[in-house]
C-alpha cells in the first residue's frame, strides 16, 4: 500500500480535528499549515508526474468494504492532476484570506474547511465509483455548515436550498452508481466498483441511458448548469467570501471532472446518445449565464453567472467527444478556478471601498487611488474574457476546435459566447474601477493581506498564460490514448 496520496488526502481532516484542541487564536495557523502542506504535496506531484504515461500513477488500492465490492483506490492521472493542484493552491489562498478575518467559533470554521478539502481531494483522487460517490456527497456537509453558520442574512434558507438541490442530484447518482456496479457484476462473479473493473463490463445501452441521466443530473446541479441552477443566486449571495471562492472555483470543477471520469468511459453508448442534448444544455448555459452576468448588478452574481457560462464552455468541450475538446475542458477547468477565486477576492475589496455594498451601481472610480488593485483586476478580467495570450484563450480555442469537428452549428453559436464574455467582464471592470465615483466610495490601495493572496494568484494566471503547454502536455497521454481511460470516439 502506497501511503503518499492518502497522507495528502487526510492531512486537512486530521489538522481540522487537531485544531479543535488548540486555543482559538491558533486555529487559523493550524489550518494554514495543513493547507500549505497539501499545496506543497500537490506541487510535488505535478513535478514528479510522468507526463509520457497516460496510466494511473501513485496508485493506492485496498479493499474497503469487501461485501459491497468497494475499494479504497486512489490514483493520479492527466485528468485529475491539475484539479488536485488547483484545490491545493486555492485552499491555501482562501485559508490565508480567511485567517486575516475574525470568525465566530473559529475552530469549527477551520474544521469544516478541512473536511471540505479532504472531501474534494477524495472525489478527485477516487478511482472507485462508490468511493467517488462517498466523497462527492461528503463535500456537501461542510459547505452546508459553512454557509449556514457563517453566511449572510438569509443563510439558513440559502443553505437548505443548496443542500436539497444538490443532494437530490447526488442521491439519484447513488442509485445509478449502485446499479452500475450491480449490473456490471451480473455477468461475472464479483461485485466491484473500481473504475478499472467497471470499464471491462460495459452495460447494455438501455441501462446506460437512465444511469447516465441520473449522473448528469447530479453533475449539472453541482456545476450549476442552466436549468438546474436555481440554488445558485441565493447560495452565492449568502456564502461567506472565502467559502464562496472555493465553491465556485473548485467544487464546480469536480462536477465537470465527474463527466470525464465516469460518464464518458463507463457509459459510452449513452454519451453518444445524449451528446446533442448535453451540447444544447451547455449552449443554453453559456448564453443564459452571459446574459444574466451582463444584466445583474450584484457583483457576486456577475461572477456567479459568468461561472455558469464558463462551466457551459467546459461541458461543451467534454461533450465534443474528442481529444481537443477534452483537453480544452481540463485546461479551462484549471484556468477558470484560478481566475474566479481572485475575482471574488477583488469583489470583497471593492465592497470594502464602497461602504460595504456589493452592488456595482454603488461602486465606480475605485481605480483612482488604487493602481495596483486596478492592474491586478485588469489581468483577471482579461483572463476571464479569454484575451488572446491568456491561458483561457488556449482553453476556449481547444474547446471550440473540438466542437467544430463534431457539431459545426453548435460551435458557431458557442463562439458568440466568447464575445459575450468580453462584454460582461469588461462591464464589471469599467463600472467598478472607472466611471463616475460612487457616493460612498473611498478608494485606497490594497493592504498586505490582499496582496499576499492576490499577487501570487495573479502571477499563477500569468505563468499558465505564458506556458499552457505545461498543463496540456501532462493531460495529453491520458486523454488521447495509451490507455482506454477515455473511450473517445470521433464522430463524423
Amino acid at each position: 500500500m502506497k501511503l503518499d496520496l492518502s497522507i495528502m488526502l487526510f492531512i486537512p481532516l486530521a489538522f481540522g480535528v487537531i485544531g479543535l484542541f488548540v486555543p482559538e487564536r491558533a486555529a487559523a495557523k493550524v489550518a494554514l499549515l495543513s493547507t500549505f502542506l497539501v499545496a506543497a504535496y500537490a506541487v510535488l506531484y505535478v513535478v514528479d508526474f510522468n507526463s509520457s504515461s497516460g496510466a494511473l500513477q501513485h496508485v493506492t488500492d485496498e479493499t474497503w468494504i469487501a461485501e459491497l465490492g468497494i475499494h479504497y483506490k486512489l490514483g493520479l492521472d492527466g485528468l485529475n492532476l491539475f484539479l488536485v493542484l488547483l484545490t491545493g493552491i486555492l485552499w491555501f489562498a482562501c485559508t490565508l484570506w480567511a485567517g486575516f478575518q475574525e470568525w465566530e467559533k473559529p475552530r469549527y470554521f477551520y474544521l469544516h474547511l478541512g473536511i471540505a478539502e479532504t472531501a474534494v481531494l477524495g472525489a478527485l483522487l477516487a478511482q472507485d465509483l462508490a468511493l467517488f460517490v462517498v466523497f462527492f456527497d461528503l463535500m456537501l456537509v461542510p459547505f452546508f455548515f459553512l454557509t449556514g453558520i457563517w453566511g449572510g442574512a438569509k443563510r439558513v434558507q440559502a443553505t437548505m436550498k443548496l443542500v436539497i438541490y444538490t443532494l437530490v442530484g447526488s442521491l439519484l447518482m447513488l442509485t445509478a452508481a449502485v446499479a452500475t456496479g450491480v449490473l456490471a457484476a451480473a455477468g461475472s462473479a464479483d461485485l466491484s466498483f473500481a473504475f478499472s473493473d467497471l470499464a471491462q463490463h460495459p452495460l447494455a445501452s438501455s441501462s446506460q441511458e437512465w444511469i447516465f441521466l441520473f449522473f448528469a443530473a447530479a453533475f449539472l446541479v453541482k456545476m450549476p448548469a442552466f436549468p438546474l441552477h436555481g440554488w445558485m443566486p441565493d447560495g452565492y449571495r449568502n456564502m461567506p467570501l472565502p467559502v464562496l471562492a472555493l465553491f465556485s472555483a473548485v467544487l464546480s470543477k469536480v462536477a465537470a471532472y465527474g463527466f470525464l471520469r465516469i460518464c464518458l468511459p463507463l457509459f459510452p453508448d449513452a454519451t453518444q446518445h445524449f451528446q446533442t442534448l448535453m451540447l444544447l444544455l451547455a449552449l443554453a448555459s453559456i448564453i443564459y449565464g452571459s446574459a444574466m452576468a451582463f444584466t445583474t448588478t450584484e457583483a457576486r452574481l456577475v461572477l456567479g453567472y459568468s461561472s455558469v457560462a464558463q462551466l457551459g464552455f467546459i461541458t461543451l468541450g467534454i461533450f465534443a467527444l474528442n481529444s481537443q475538446g477534452a483537453q480544452g475542458a481540463i485546461l479551462q477547468a484549471f484556468n477558470h478556478g484560478l481566475v474566479v477565486a481572485p475575482a471574488f477576492f477583488i469583489v470583497a475589496l471593492l465592497a470594502d471601498r464602497s461602504g460595504g455594498s456589493e452592488d456595482i451601481r454603488d461602486m465606480g472610480g475605485i481605480a483612482t487611488r488604487a493602481p495596483v488593485l486596478a492592474t491586478l483586476f485588469l489581468i483577471v478580467t482579461f483572463a476571464t474574457l479569454a484575451m488572446p495570450g491568456s491561458s483561457n484563450f488556449a482553453g476556449e480555442f481547444l474547446i471550440l476546435l473540438g466542437v467544430f469537428q463534431s457539431k459545426i452549428a453548435i460551435a458557431i453559436i458557442a463562439s458568440t459566447g466568447v464575445v459575450l464574455a468580453a462584454v460582461y467582464a469588461l462591464r464589471l471592470f469599467i463600472v467598478t474601477m472607472h466611471n463616475r465615483t460612487g457616493p460612498r466610495v473611498e478608494s485606497r490601495e490594497l493592504g498586505v493581506r490582499d496582496g499576499l493572496v492576490l499577487v501570487p494568484l495573479v502571477l499563477a494566471i500569468l505563468a499558465i498564460a505564458l506556458y499552457p503547454q505545461f498543463a496540456l502536455k501532462r493531460s495529453e497521454p491520458t486523454v488521447t490514448g495509451g490507455t482506454p481511460t477515455l473511450a473517445l470516439k470521433a464522430t463524423p
Binding site: I65, A66, E67, L68, K105, Y108, A130, V133, V134, F135, D137, L138, L140, V141, F144, F145, G148, I149, R155, V156, T159, M160, V163, I164, L167, V168, L171, L172, L174, T175, V178, A179, G181, V182, L183, L191
Partner: protein, 512 residues
C-alpha cells in the same frame, strides 16, 4: 426402558442455547423482588444496575453461542446467528433505555422494580419472537413483548398523555395481535403444520397451494398484523401519538427494539417459511414498502415535536427495511439486519439528546429546545448532528452504508423501482432532518438571564429556552449520546465487523 425414561424427561433442552433467555428472565424476577426492598438506595441504584448487568450477561452469553445453529425445545426456537445478533441488539437497546431512564421520572412513579422487570420481560419476549420457529412460539413471543410495553408507555402516571399513549398502544396493539393470530390460524389451516420448516416444505411440494384462498387470507392477515407492530403504512397511525406520549427512554426502546423484533420475525416468516409463496406476498409488501416510505417522510415534514418527527422518521425507515424483506434474497436479509443495527445506533444517539434537553429546558421535546445547542452544549450537539446526517444517509456515517446496502440488495433482485423510492424518500427526509441541524447550529439560543419561574407548573413561553431551568442533564445521558454518536461514525468508516456478523446471520437462514 430408555423410551420410557425419555418420555418422563420430556424433550431435550439445550440449556446453553437457552442461556441468554434464562438470564433475562432470572434478572427480571430478581429485579422485581429487589424492588420491594425498603431501602431507597437499593431501589433506585441497585435495581437499574442489576438490570444492566443482566443484559450485559445475556449479551455476553449470546456472543458466546456464536456459530451454534440448533433447534431448541423440540423445534420451538431456533438458535442461529440471526437470533444472536438480534439478541445482542435488544440487550444494547435495553441497556441504553435503562441508562436513559435512571433518575428519570417514569421509574420513580411506576416503582423501580416493576419498571425494570417489565423492560426485561419485554426483551425476553423479543428474543423468543426472533428465535421462534413455529407459529405458536411466534405469537407467544409477540405477546410477551407487547404486554409489558403497553404498561411501560403509561408509566408516567401523572401525565395524561403518557396514559393516553399506553391506552392507545394497548387498543391498537391488541387489534394487531388479534389480526396476526387470525392470520396464523389460516396459515395453519392451509398448510396443516405450525413449524416454519414444514410450512416451507409443504409450499415447495404442493403445486397449487399458492393460489389457495385459505393461504392467501392467512398471508394477508399476518402481513396486516405485523404491519401494525412494525408501524408500516397504512397501519402506522398509532405511532406518532404513542411515541410522543410515552416516556422518552421507552420511546427510544420501542423505536429501535420493537422494530428490530418485528423485522426479525418478518424475515423468518416471509423469507424462510413462506418463501415458496413469495408470488403472493412480495407484490403486497413491495407496495406497502413504497407507501410507507412516502407516508413516513411526508408526515415528518411539518412536525415540531422531535419525538413525533422521529416517530414518522421511524415509519419511513421501516419502509426502507421492508424493501430488504421484499427482495427475499440473502443480500436483502443481510441488508435488513445491517440496517436494523445501524438504525439502532443512529436513533439512540438522537433520543439520548432529546432526553437530555427535556431535562435541561422547559420546552420538552420541541425542536426549539435545540436552538443554539452548538454553542452551549457541543457534547450534545455533535451526536444529534451526526444522528440526523446519518438518518438522512450522508456518507461517512453508518446510515449511508446501510442505505447503500439496501439499494444494492434491491437492484440486485430487479427491484430498481423500489430503490428509487428509497432515494426519493431520502430526498424528502432532508426537509426535516436538516431543520434539526439548522436549529442546533444556525439558530441562536435565547441568552437571557435565567428568569425566576413563578410557580413550578407554569408553562414557560417559547424563548426562555436556554438553560432556563439551570439544570444539566446527567452524565449517563450525555454518555449514551456520545457513545452512539461516535459509533455512528465508526460504523460508517469501518463497517466490516458488522458486515461479518450480518453475513453469518444471512448464511444461517440458507437463502440464496
Amino acid at each position: 426402558m430408555i423410551a420410557a425414561a425419555a418420555k418422563i424427561a420430556g424433550p431435550h433442552i439445550d440449556w446453553a442455547g437457552l442461556s441468554p433467555l434464562v438470564a433475562v428472565f432470572a434478572g427480571a424476577l430478581l429485579v422485581l423482588m429487589l424492588g420491594l426492598a425498603r431501602s431507597r438506595a437499593l431501589r433506585e441504584t441497585v435495581v437499574p444496575a442489576l438490570s444492566v448487568v443482566t443484559l450485559l450477561v445475556a449479551g455476553a452469553l449470546a456472543v458466546g453461542q456464536w456459530g451454534e445453529r440448533t433447534d431448541l425445545i423440540a423445534g420451538a426456537l431456533r438458535l442461529d446467528e440471526l437470533t444472536l445478533v438480534l439478541t445482542v441488539l435488544f440487550c444494547v437497546a435495553g441497556i441504553a433505555a435503562i441508562l436513559l431512564s435512571w433518575r428519570h421520572v417514569a421509574p420513580r412513579e411506576a416503582a423501580h422494580g416493576e419498571y425494570h422487570a417489565l423492560l426485561l420481560t419485554s426483551i425476553a419476549g423479543m428474543i423468543v419472537l426472533v428465535a421462534a420457529q413455529n407459529l405458536v412460539t411466534v405469537f407467544l413471543g409477540l405477546e410477551l413483548l407487547s404486554i409489558p410495553l403497553y404498561v411501560l408507555c403509561a408509566t408516567e402516571m401523572r401525565r395524561a398523555s403518557s396514559l393516553e399513549s399506553g391506552l392507545k398502544y394497548l387498543v391498537v396493539g391488541s387489534l394487531g395481535s388479534a389480526t396476526f393470530l387470525y392470520g396464523l390460524a389460516f396459515l395453519y389451516g392451509a398448510t396443516g403444520t405450525t413449524d416454519f420448516g414444514a410450512i416451507a416444505q409443504v409450499l415447495a411440494d404442493g403445486g397449487d397451494l399458492v393460489t389457495d384462498p385459505l393461504l392467501l387470507t392467512g398471508i394477508g392477515l399476518s402481513i396486516v398484523g405485523l404491519a401494525f407492530k412494525a408501524s408500516v403504512a397504512p397501519f402506522h397511525q398509532w405511532t406518532p401519538d404513542v411515541y410522543e406520549g410515552a416516556p422518552t427512554p421507552i420511546t427510544a426502546f420501542m423505536a429501535v427494539a420493537t422494530k428490530a423484533a418485528a423485522f426479525g420475525v418478518m424475515l423468518r416468516l416471509f423469507d424462510v417459511a413462506l418463501i415458496g409463496a413469495s408470488v403472493d406476498w412480495a407484490p403486497a409488501l413491495a407496495t406497502l414498502a413504497a407507501a410507507t416510505i412516502i407516508v413516513g417522510n411526508v408526515g415528518a415534514l411539518g412536525q415540531s415535536s422531535l419525538k413525533r418527527m422521529l416517530a414518522y422518521s421511524s415509519v419511513a425507515q421501516a419502509g426502507y427495511m421492508l424493501a430488504g424483506v421484499v427482495v427475499a434474497s440473502r443480500l436483502g436479509l443481510q441488508a435488513t439486519v445491517f440496517y436494523l443495527c445501524v438504525y439502532l445506533v443512529m436513533n439512540l444517539a438522537a433520543f439520548a439528546v432529546i432526553v437530555a434537553r427535556e431535562r435541561e429546558t422547559p420546552l420538552g421535546d420541541d425542536i426549539a429546545s435545540l436552538n443554539g445547542l452548538g454553542t452551549s452544549r457541543p457534547l450534545l450537539a455533535w451526536p444529534m448532528t451526526i444522528a440526523m446526517l446519518a438518518l438522512a444517509g450522508f456518507p461517512a456515517t453508518a446510515g449511508f452504508i446501510g442505505k447503500f446496502y439496501l439499494i444494492d440488495a434491491a437492484v440486485d433482485e430487479g427491484y430498481t423501482w423500489l430503490a428509487v423510492f428509497i432515494v426519493v424518500g431520502s430526498m424528502i427526509s432532508l426537509g426535516y432532518y436538516l431543520r434539526v441541524i439548522a436549529a442546533i447550529w444556525m439558530t441562536p439560543g435565547a441568552r437571557t438571564a435565567p428568569v425566576p419561574i413563578a410557580g413550578a407548573d407554569t408553562p414557560l413561553l417559547a424563548g426562555g429556552a436556554e438553560e432556563a431551568t439551570g439544570l444539566r442533564a446527567q452524565g449517563e445521558v450525555v454518555a449514551v449520546a456520545v457513545v452512539f454518536g461516535v459509533l455512528t461514525v465508526v460504523l460508517g468508516v469501518v463497517p466490516s465487523p458488522l458486515f461479518n456478523a450480518v453475513r453469518d446471520a444471512g448464511a444461517a437462514l440458507g437463502l440464496l
